[in-house]
């Protein structure tokens, strides 16, 4: 059961990711990314992280991707145009990526003792999570809220209309 679920949703992940690369219009890429994120949420559930699965859907798929979609609409992004291209990106980048993949894969395959995951395994409850989060890690938690505040201010400052644009041509 676990295996089938894993295979299905892993395949969905990969399909979404590849589709993100293949699509020409950014809105299509955004939708593919949403698919990837929701399947990842399911995978989290399979690994026993129920709170994170919920957070993944709410925050990532529900907020961040919505933000992306709004920006695509705002900037009226259209199909990608053929531009100069970067030869370096192909010549240096692809072999680098291949090397990274090979290294990580080799490491994972060599190391045998990760163990297995099963559906009956322990599910981390939200109580467990919050017990650590609100006692030992209280300060980082609060600081995160400050971080989000800073981000809000930053984006308003950066993306807001400047004075000239606000008053507009007289």
């Amino acid at each position: 059961m676990h295996l089938i679920l894993f295979i299905v949703f892993a395949a969905l992940c990969l399909t979404g990711a590849v589709n993100l690369l293949l699509q020409k219009h950014p809105i299509n890429s955004a939708l593919s990314l949403i698919v990837v994120m929701t399947s990842l949420a399911v995978l989290y559930l399979l690994l026993g992280a129920e709170f994170l699965a919920a957070a993944q859907v709410i925050v990532y798929a529900g907020a961040i991707m919505v933000l992306f979609t709004f920006v695509v609409m705002l900037l009226n992004a259209s199909r990608e145009e053929r531009t100069l291209g970067s030869r370096i990106a192909r010549v240096v980048g692809f072999p680098a990526v291949a090397a990274i993949m090979a290294l990580i894969a080799t490491t994972i395959l060599r190391i045998q003792c990760f163990g297995n995951a099963a559906i009956e395994d322990h599910i981390t409850s939200t109580t467990e999570l919050s017990a650590v989060l609100f006692t030992r890690l209280l300060l980082p938690f609060e600081v995160t809220s400050v971080l989000i505040l800073v981000a809000i201010l930053g984006s308003v400052a950066l993306a807001g209309k400047s004075d000239e644009e606000r008053t507009g041509p007289e």
Partner: protein
């Protein structure tokens, strides 16, 4: 230090302070202040020397006094040099001459240079010269002497080229310095040889080491002596390095008097006398010295016969008289040579200063063909110069009579070579009398050939030193060669064949006076009685006259054989090949490499996001490899954790 204070270090230091004050501040000070500083300095030095003489004569201080300068100057291996000074009879005599005549010439300069723009500069340099000369004369250490040696060369260069805007003056300064340098090179080699063979440059120690080794003669000592001789030849303008002295007349006349007559050029003679203990051990070197001296004396005298510039005649006369001093040293009669040095300082300085007075009176005219009839118009100058002319010709009882005869007698009694050299000296004495009287007649007698200028007598600041020097020229020799020699004996040794008052000596003396009279008579006939005869004589011997008038073309020969090749090498070989080609090319190459490297690296900053990402990925891959590789390539089954199944 026991006994009364001698203030020896102050003798050079006070003029040095004068140099600093006038050199740094003189431009802004009024002329009166500049002159005061410049006159007070040598006066103080002279008074200190007089004080020392007084102490010595009353017996409170016994010579030699050797002071070791407090801070050690150089202490490397076996070479130890300090700023020590030596006061012995030789240096005492030299100090008297240098500071005394120096002071008189400073006073004279106040009047002579009064209209000059660079008044402060002149006196600064003059004080600097005095500083270096006193260092040279007082040094107990050959290295310190060399410092003074070089320093007077520098001061001479600065003063010859005082009117540096005049090309000929600037060139003359350079010529003096460069020719001196050639001599200094010999001096340096001599110093190196001294250090290598004796391990020290302090003169007393060398004397002691030589005394402990009585059989050491010739060989290395000859080499050292000859090298030192080269230095002396350069500094004292002997053959073949005399060419700078006539050109040095481009400088102001008081400079010619002080530096190129009385003091600097005598440094070579002083040096030989100071290092006599080396020359004494090498008869060959002594012969060379004597031959060089005699040859120079004759050579310069012949050139002086036909010169028309009053200062050039005096310059060649100086070279000739220095030759006499070298002759004296060469026959080991060092005290006679120093005696002649002293008397020569008096009358030669007087001659130059009087010539300066004549030039000043005529408003700058130096060509004797345009002078004449001055004897009634500038009487003080006339009478003092007359005394000097008689003195240099060797008439008794004036100064040079005693000193020149001492040298000639010493030469005659020095073997067969000595007799030949004595004869050369005798002929030179006749020539000397001739050209000096020629000068006298052309300048002061006959009709005035220059009507435009109104000759006026010089101010008292110029006439005063003339009178004092005239007095010295008269009675400077009365001390007598014998007593002078006895006084100097502790410093320079004494010759054994000194038989004063013997028949040979009286005969030689009379002969010398007769010869001088002969010279006078011929000059009288040619220049007073029959003024047209010189021109007739010159027409009768045209080639001979041209050869003498052009100074035997020595300058031209030097220019062709030495100067021109050097210039060609510098301009083309070193200038084009080395400087532009190699060094320039090297600089161009380095710049090119840097520029090329920059151009290549600049391509990396393309501004393209994707290429940056690609390089980032590459970097990440490399890092990842280095982190993971140890784990991956070990045997499989690494225990990363025991949790799980």
């Amino acid at each position: 230090m026991n006994g009364p204070l001698l203030f020896l270090p102050l003798i050079p230091l006070v003029p040095f302070v004068g140099f600093l004050l006038n050199g740094l501040l003189g431009r802004r000070l009024p002329k009166a202040v500049v002159s005061t500083i410049a006159l007070v300095a040598p006066l103080i030095s002279f008074l200190i020397v007089l004080h020392a003489v007084f102490l010595v004569s009353t017996g409170s201080v016994a010579l030699p006094v050797i002071e070791h300068g407090a801070p050690t100057w150089i202490s490397v291996g076996t070479l130890h040099a300090d700023f020590g000074s030596v006061l012995d009879p030789l240096s005492l005599v030299m100090l008297l001459v240098v500071t005394g005549v120096g002071f008189l010439i400073h006073v004279y300069s106040v009047g002579y240079m009064h209209e000059e723009e660079g008044y402060w500069r002149y006196f600064a340099y003059l004080n600097l010269f005095l500083f270096f000369m006193t260092v040279l004369v007082q040094a107990g250490n050959a290295l310190l002497m060399f410092v003074g040696w070089e320093g007077v060369g520098l001061a001479s260069y600065l003063l010859i080229g005082f009117w540096f805007q005049k090309t000929s003056a600037a060139d003359a300064g350079k010529k003096a310095f460069i020719v001196n340098r050639i001599g200094d090179f010999g001096f340096l080699i001599g110093l190196f040889l001294l250090l290598a063979n004796f391990g020290t440059l302090t003169l007393n120690e060398i004397v002691a080491k030589l005394a402990a080794n009585p059989t050491m003669t010739g060989g290395v000592l000859t080499a050292i002596a000859l090298c030192l001789l080269v230095g002396a030849i350069g500094k004292s303008a002997q053959l073949p390095l005399y060419v700078w002295l006539p050109d040095a007349m481009e400088g102001p006349t008081p400079v010619s008097a002080l530096i190129h007559a009385a003091t600097m050029v005598t440094a070579g003679v002083y040096m030989i006398a100071r290092t006599h203990f080396i020359f004494d051990r090498s008869p060959f070197a002594l012969s060379v010295v004597a031959i060089v001296g005699a040859a120079t004396a004759l050579f310069a005298a012949t050139i002086g016969l036909v010169q028309t510039d009053i200062k050039r005649v005096l310059a060649y006369s100086t070279v000739s008289q220095l030759g006499y001093m070298f002759l004296g040293c060469g026959v080991a009669a060092y005290s006679a040579a120093i005696f002649h040095l002293m008397t020569h300082a008096f009358f030669k300085a007087l001659l130059f200063l009087a010539a300066g007075s004549v030039i000043h009176a005529l408003g700058g005219e130096q060509d004797m063909r345009k002078m004449g009839g001055l004897r009634t118009k500038i009487p003080v100058t006339y009478w003092t110069m007359t005394i000097a002319v008689f003195a240099i010709s060797g008439f008794p009882p004036l100064a040079a009579f005693f000193s020149k005869d001492a040298i000639l007698y010493a030469a005659f009694t020095s073997g067969s070579l000595g007799k030949i050299l004595w004869f050369v000296g005798l002929v030179t004495a006749a020539l000397t009398a001739f050209y000096m009287f020629r000068l006298w007649y052309l300048t002061f007698w006959g009709e005035s050939r220059e009507d435009a200028a109104h000759p006026h007598e010089s101010p008292w600041s110029m006439r005063g030193p003339l009178v004092i020097l005239a007095v010295l020229s008269v009675c400077g020799g009365w001390i007598g060669a014998g007593r002078f020699g006895a006084f100097l004996a502790p410093a320079v040794g004494s010759r054994t064949a000194e038989a004063a008052g013997s028949q040979v000596e009286i005969f030689l003396t009379v002969l010398a006076v007769v010869v001088a009279l002969l010279g006078w008579l011929i000059a009288d006939r040619m220049y007073r009685q029959r003024p047209e005869s010189p021109a007739q004589l010159a027409a009768a011997m045209p080639t001979g006259y041209k050869l003498l008038a052009n100074k035997y073309y020595v300058d031209e020969i030097y220019g062709f054989t030495i100067v021109k090749p050097l210039l060609v090498i510098s301009r083309y070989l070193l200038g084009w090949v080395v400087d532009v080609g190699i060094l320039g090319g090297l600089a161009w190459l380095l710049a090119g490499i840097a520029s090329l490297g920059g151009a290549i690296l600049q391509r990396w900053q393309s501004g393209n996001l994707r290429s940056y990402a690609a390089w980032l990925a590459l970097g990440a891959a490399v890092l990842l490899y280095f982190v993971l590789a140890p784990h991956v390539f070990e045997a499989a089954g690494l225990h990363l954790g025991m949790a799980g199944h």
